[in-house]
Symmetry: C2
Subunit: 443 residues, 2 copies
Amino acid sequence: MKSAHQQPQDCDLLITGGLVLTLDEQDRRFDPGAVAIDLGKIVDVGPAADLGPRFHPAATLSAAGCVVLPGLINAHTHAAMTLFRGLADDLPLMDWLQGHIFPAERKLTADWVYWGTLLACAEMIGSGITTFCDMYLFEHRVAEAARDAGMRALVGEVLYDFPSPHYGPIDQGLRFTEDLIREWHGHPLVRIAVEPHALYTCSPELLQRCGDLAAHHEVPLITHLSENQAEVDQILARYGRRPVAHLAELGLLHERLIADHCVALDQHDIDLLAEHRVQVVHNAESNLKLASGIAPVPRLLAAGINVALGTDGCASNNDLNLFGEMDTCAKLHKVATLDPTTMAAPTVLRLATAGGARALGLGDSVGTLEPGRLADLIAVDFQQPHLTPVYDPVSHLVYAAGPADVRHSVIGGRVVLKDRVIQTLDLEEVLHHARRIARIVRS
Amino acid sequence: MKSAHQQPQDCDLLITGGLVLTLDEQDRRFDPGAVAIDLGKIVDVGPAADLGPRFHPAATLSAAGCVVLPGLINAHTHAAMTLFRGLADDLPLMDWLQGHIFPAERKLTADWVYWGTLLACAEMIGSGITTFCDMYLFEHRVAEAARDAGMRALVGEVLYDFPSPHYGPIDQGLRFTEDLIREWHGHPLVRIAVEPHALYTCSPELLQRCGDLAAHHEVPLITHLSENQAEVDQILARYGRRPVAHLAELGLLHERLIADHCVALDQHDIDLLAEHRVQVVHNAESNLKLASGIAPVPRLLAAGINVALGTDGCASNNDLNLFGEMDTCAKLHKVATLDPTTMAAPTVLRLATAGGARALGLGDSVGTLEPGRLADLIAVDFQQPHLTPVYDPVSHLVYAAGPADVRHSVIGGRVVLKDRVIQTLDLEEVLHHARRIARIVRS
């Protein structure tokens, strides 16, 4: 029996060396640590000296000098809007939308969405994001781009009362969404959500039809919610209720609801979100750039609400950089509350990992490094001036690391970034198509 | 005569290819452009096709695929505090200072300051900063580190009423400062300033002695000013005047005064700063992290005050990343004023270049790319997913580019970063010393 125990176990991949942050409940750390991966899942995580002799991996990946942690989760974006990055900035919201973004989007095609999303995937993979949640048009092409890039994604077609440049009338939009749900059911990387755009673009009837569809298929329901005071005023004027109360009245506040932004909230809104265990996605930089306001994240967390981080689309940020979002999130709320102890680095790192996983309904699958979980993880290269010396690696991840510090990334056990080279995409081809489309946008 | 005109002119360096942003008054751009450099200065800037045949360079540097622009200016830092990066975060100011930073600084030596500053120089060179302004202890070692790294710097020993761990009693501090001024007079890279720490640590007598010394040698006077409301309250209680008015009363508001932070200002403060043409350095991220507040930068600019950007020290930021500061600055004031049009990208880029140059008394020397100016410039690699496509390069520089995108850097005509490799320092040696010192800090 003893010799059988000593026989190394076969596995697909062993990531070894470096400091492993599991971010599990006990916050276990191993230095040098190792992660054994087989069939897309984590088989074991522990000290490198312990795992090394116990596994016989088909491949190894050195994380020497790195910090290994769960992949970052971008819980709200409009990925294909990379194509419009920097097209128009520093404008009032309505000028920006009506003068620049809507005219550009009128030219939108399925081809644009595919290549724009692949461009986003290239940026996200290169910056340590392993899962993203998307809302846009031609979303079947987003699903395909995520699959082709090897990224985990929760995607859904944006739905609203008026006809869509993609699916036309709303009945077709709902049918299209249901077809997507069926088509991608059981896919290892891509899941589908039902995504009514916002309360000011969706009638109560549409919101309820979306809610019913999401409930029927047990998939997430996603919407923009209380993004700024103007939205609150508009919904109040139209329905006599604030946006959160409006959703409550429609029976749509629940644990599968992912509410993006949640900037303009009063205490009753926060109580309702907490009571119904709604998932909130905080998009700090987009809210700053569009002058929307500052979401009361410390109060949301104090109320027990799960909060994730998102970049929003590249037309209002202008990047897909969750390191930047973590840094901004950790700092911004300190000044907003005049309390330098709020939103400490470990709290913020959890929003970008476990918080994101839970928000997207992946709380049991990703967000921590534990045996049985899907193998979504990144290695961040700490052998650099701006990450030296190291007293607290979590502080560096939140306050000093940047996207380009990500050396390797693994999604579902597949190495998608190795020594900063994307393994799943032809980057030159993606850049070529992005430039081709930009020429049309410009014209 | 004609053939003589066609004879190419010798020069030290030709940077060619890429889009050249001069950031001069006419905002001239050349694509592809070139910059000819000789004896540390810019000889010519223009279309690559024009300069190529006219110059015979000893060396060329390709900036193909890059955007070439003036080097960034970090107008306020405590460079050697890189050694304390992440030592303690998310704490109230006094706990942080008295429980962590002051105890660590009690161990401070000239050796630590030298290596800590070189570590900072490595980070700054690698992130596109060509000039920095420093306030700390053992500042002769900061001057030497800047010289050894090949960086342009304005440095000065921090002065206050109580004895310094470096120079002892204040009389010796003033003598030390004057010796530094004499010693470095005429150095091509390093200049010295007189740097009283703050109004709450310096008596009116000391402030005036500092002012006299700076006036006598015609060097900048630098101090922290109105960093938060607590400081304003303290100065009001002690002197019956707000900090800015206190300096005005002492006759110390003038064009050579560099005032760091300027967060807690009323309209009268702003009027005084404008009237006396004081230089203001905005440290947005440090002010957020320490919960100091948000400086009224749009109002300062509207009043005609010159504003520069700074990172502050790494113990309160925690990096020396001016791309991050530009991004934060452009976004933060939009939400602070609820005006998405304020602090547009071109305005913010000028704060980080020409604004910094003017603040540090280098307004005629650096900050734009024009013939006769010192050759301080950087090339930012735009051939990347997060910088593709390009509608507006200035938008990308402010909202999407990061430190790792800097491919080359030139300071005073010397190539200090080439293809992301620092040319002036042994990076491994610097990292080794930083880790050695961190072990002592930790113990």
